[in-house]
Assembly symmetry: C2
Homo-oligomer: 324 residues x 2
Amino acid sequence: MKPKIADVANVAGVSPTTVSRVLNDRGYISEETRKKVHDAMKELKYYPNEVARSLYINKTFLIGLIFPTTSNPFYGQLIFHLENIASSLGYKVLLCNSEGREDKEKEYLEMLQRNQVDGIIAGAHNKEIEEYESTNLPVVGIDRNLSSKIPVVSSDNYHGGQLATELLIRQGCQKVIHINGPSDLDTPANLRRKAYEDVMRAHDLKPLTYEVEETDSPVIGQLFDENPQVEAIFASDDLIASNVIQEAKRRNLSVPDNVKVIGYDGTQTIRSIFPELSTVEQPIENIAQKALELLMKQIDGDDESLPLETILPVRLIESETTRV
Amino acid sequence: MKPKIADVANVAGVSPTTVSRVLNDRGYISEETRKKVHDAMKELKYYPNEVARSLYINKTFLIGLIFPTTSNPFYGQLIFHLENIASSLGYKVLLCNSEGREDKEKEYLEMLQRNQVDGIIAGAHNKEIEEYESTNLPVVGIDRNLSSKIPVVSSDNYHGGQLATELLIRQGCQKVIHINGPSDLDTPANLRRKAYEDVMRAHDLKPLTYEVEETDSPVIGQLFDENPQVEAIFASDDLIASNVIQEAKRRNLSVPDNVKVIGYDGTQTIRSIFPELSTVEQPIENIAQKALELLMKQIDGDDESLPLETILPVRLIESETTRV
DNA sequence: TTGTAAGCGTTATCAT
DNA sequence: ATGATAACGCTTACAA
């Protein structure tokens, strides 16, 4: 069996309390016994049992991460940074892929509570889930309004939408169409659409938005069918944007000569595979950083100074797909 | 404070044991008390404390996942499936991004042991780490030989290398170059290179392999500089392949007219963003499935029938970048 | 059918 | 400077 503190104590010829003291550097221990204990731990290959420790101190140093899927490069990169930063703060992460399904998200939420996580960061694509209201756990949302009291971190979606739309208009396009995800999700990402519509109207252009459920939705084909004269498309994420470009190619439309396209997110992966794609880059690492900062504040009980909304700046990346 | 079994017992007017029995459906309980207990749990919003439970039953239903980074679409997709399947088996996953760093991997390994995980699945890009030898935990490696006793799951790297190389030769290329990751890692992925070299020699062609540390390595430029007459490149992953294609474009070489390129992995993300890329698709979901199956066997103590090497079939995807 | 009590491995309080 | 003991919330013999 795995050695426990009592075993170490036996080998070292001291009491369990003393071993615990050495382990946690608490109280006074003579150099001699400290050494004896360390030797015993090494001899037995002793590792403290964090489960027992968690039970006693009533804290697990565990954080739950609920996102649709690590498969998507945006979430993959975000989760990478979240785990990284959490780890540097001494926290471990429990990964939950909700696939945007409400039932799965609720199950995960309960599982995380049973497992006594110290906090949750969630960004799943879901409608509001009332369970977030009732939990007393520290929670932070990313690009998603979870409840009226839960802080949200997001990039400046409105400004991003402005930058993208204005770029397309500046490049001489009038017939600019927007493609967005489902609008019934309560997410600040809806501001991308709002910004697009505002900018269009400010230029006396008629906004037109298509909604897709999946990145390779047939709606994209429909868009081209219904708008043969389309000059530019602002897609609300890079995967949709690249599907738009493929559909354009299939129709022998040249990008950017016939149609200009801009996406959103600017993940490492996309920038590496498809650097020709113009996009609005989200500050993914900063989002992760800020989310954890807000979570730590809640965990440490500094609940006063919590901003309910944190908005981080985005960056326009002009590349080939929007060239004149 | 959070309610515990004793609180539920008080409200229901029974003993803690009875509550535990209801919770775990063990022993005989009258319908009446069962109902009283359930009502009390609902009233108190009681969630069992899994930490306490884990301590007693000496099992956490936790699995550690050690991979370089969720940012990379291959690992992102693999981790997605691993989490998904684990979840369906009643297990939770602790995510560790090792970034291919030996020091981080060792730290994570220790952390996972302290946290009493029931098993580990690792696929980090690292040299052999002796700590894997000494641990008594169930471990499974993915595309990576962790130690002589640890089962490894991988796709058929040799066959994949053959398929890719033979395709390029079949398309009429003679001067075919291979780009691989660092060869000092002990991974079955080295077989891709071996297969390439074998196939080349079988066709009386001279194999030439370049090694890159990063997907956007300057080595790619060097390759083109040193081999202006190169006809085809077999890259050992899709990200390298797309960097090769970009470098070719920069040099005004047309793909596939001047140079043909094939990658490896065939993740959803790449297939969606860059469907023109020919590649060898790994059966990512099956790999995850198999890895968990082998891990579960170890966890359940069925250690006899454990195959040390499991090889899953790959699929050639011919697309634009290798067209004649 | 239900309850009492001990124990999982740790830490903290209070002695010594 | 070190040790005995109780407690964290749960499960499981063993009793009743």
